[in-house]
Amino acid sequence: MTDIPRESRRRHPQGDARLEIYDGEFIRQLESIAKKVRRHSIRMIYQAGSGHPGGSLSGADIMVALYFHVMKHDPKRPDWQDRDRFVLSKGHAAPALYAVLAESGYFPVEELDTLRKMGSRLQGHPCLGKTPGVEMSTGSLGHGLAAGNGMALAAKLDRRLHRVYVLLGDGEMDVGETWEAAMLASHYKLDNVTAYVDRNKLQLDGPTEKIMSLEPLADKWKAFGWHVIEINGHNMKEIIHATNEAKGVKGRPTVVICHTIKGKGVSYMEGSLHFHGKAPSDEEYEQAMKELGD
């Protein structure tokens, strides 16, 4: 379990979200947690003999920034009503989510090694009710944004101020329901929803633009009434700034298109289709651990 001392986060005295200043040390700490999360993810998948390394590594930085800085949550009270919610719509990146939850303190880090094994609380895809901290069952793609909208509507009904964060794959932009949910969020002015698109430009069968072209993706979201921000999804500062900007947007939801690299952090997995859904071999595992060493 990892904790960052609160003092290392410096906020701008006027409270202007976009001017919030993060010192180098704090960002380095986040980056070092992200590296740990990547190591856990690869080890878990290796030990399970199956799983999805590519999408776990591309989304890791976003999840770390959310759980270790952005989100208001308490691992000791996973059912605290005012917590911010995170929905991993691209549920196959479960290893990274589990690693982030364990490092946050929702369950022991040792439990990570039970991924996909019989009787484990860590199912191949996230399961609500089974794993502390998991907010929605996912794995069948395209459901997460709508489920997040439901949580955001409930927050509005109950006059609660917590926010909902949803991480989507870019392949998930193929799914009709993603756009149905996009329409709903802007129709109901869900400014408490922030969606992140893990824009690694690869899906299972090939490059997104070859399988089902998405571009101009930002324009599509704009046309659906969303506030759109584009960033480098591996840059902690950019992730945090975008999120702060989203908090300031009133009357409509925000989507952060995060340009990422599938398999980020392990040289031979970067940009690789092969490691979308395949565990590394013994040698590959050794090399990955070397590359992700401190």
Binding site: C127, D205, I211, M212
Partner: protein, 316 residues
């Protein structure tokens, strides 16, 4: 399991059959939803790129597009994982394929609990139920890779909607060139007079193992491969019930409304005998190894033997 069995992937034979069909017929079109490398429709893509359409992760879109192609004279094979090729797009299949009786063949892989590590979200154990209740739909669960090949060839010549369920894991080859494959007609894999074990898919091998075990106790079990669940070969089922006086069914599917239920309904109306259904109880699956899951959810040869003994007791 007997060491003599040869294990092979059903998906590989599916890919092979598709390519042959593509060569033989210009009306064959293939679609997939971002899983072509897993379902092996990628083999068809490599051979006939202009007749292959990958819709991305959009199964509902795929089914209605397939319906449009079929309504324009094409014979369309659509593939994805079984969980996404049935429940995900049920209304599209119902409204646009089954209702207008269109020539769409859904060949779905990774069915059942043997998907393993992915867990319950991916382990569909309701697909036979969902598909067999649709009017006009034919439902086939091939027993091995060769039968997958034969089934694909056979359904390509049969007009109308078809659902073919195949698995992820390699399966033992139980049929050979001489095994007849006729749609709607179950195959007797082993003759016997004391009890009948009716299996589909991977459970047929376990029925054969169970029959070996029962033979050691002097029980002569018949084994039937019920590869076509709809339309149901009532003749073979009723004949087996009449001649053996007891029936056990075995399926890698929920016991609610799967193959065993179809057999039970047939027997209750035609010929009463003691019966027991082996299958997954009314629950979702979970992550785990194939064999571990098969054991936990009651899908072993021993479970079939036990069920047979129960039926035999009730026969007396």
């Amino acid at each position: 399991m007997p060491v003599t069995w040869k294990w092979e992937s059903q998906r590989k034979q599916y890919g092979k059959a598709l390519v042959e069909l593509g060569k033989e017929r210009g009306d064959i079109v293939v679609m997939d939803a971002d899983l072509s490398s897993s379902t092996r429709t990628s083999d068809f893509l490599a051979a006939f790129p202009e007749r292959f359409f990958n819709v991305g992760i959009a199964e509902q879109n795929m089914m209605d597009t397939a319906a449009g192609l079929a309504a324009s004279g094409k014979t369309v094979f659509v593939s994805t994982f079984a969980v996404f090729g049935t429940g995900r797009c049920y209304d599209q299949i119902r409204q646009s394929i089954a209702y207008p009786k269109l020539n769409v063949k859904i060949v779905a892989s990774h069915a059942g609990i043997t998907v393993g590590g992915d867990g319950a979200s991916h382990q569909i154990i309701e697909d036979i139920a969902l598909m067999r209740v649709l009017p006009n739909m034919t439902v086939i669960v091939p027993v091995d890779s060769l039968e997958t090949y034969n089934a694909v060839k056979a359904v390509s010549k049969t007009p109308g909607p078809v659902y073919v369920r195949i698995g992820r894991a390699d399966v033992p080859t139980l049929t050979d060139k001489n095994t007849p494959f006729e749609l709607n007609s179950a195959t007797v894999m082993r003759d016997g007079a004391d009890v009948t074990l009716i299996g589909c898919g991977i459970m047929v091998a376990r029925c054969l193992e169970a029959a070996e075990e029962l033979a050691k106790h002097g029980v002569d079990a018949r084994v039937v491969n019920l590869h076509t669940i709809k339309p149901l070969d009532e003749k073979t089922i009723v004949k087996a019930a009449r001649e053996t006086g007891g029936v056990v069914t075995a399926e890698e599917h929920s016991v609610m409304m799967g193959m065993g239920s179809a057999v039970a309904m047939c027997l209750v109306e035609n010929f009463h005998v003691p019966m027991k259904r082996v299958g997954i109880p009314d629950t979702f699956g979970e992550s785990g190894g194939c064999e571990e899951l098969m054991t936990k959810y009651g899908l072993t040869a021993e479970n079939i033997v036990e069920a047979a003994h129960d039926v035999l007791r009730r026969k007396k």
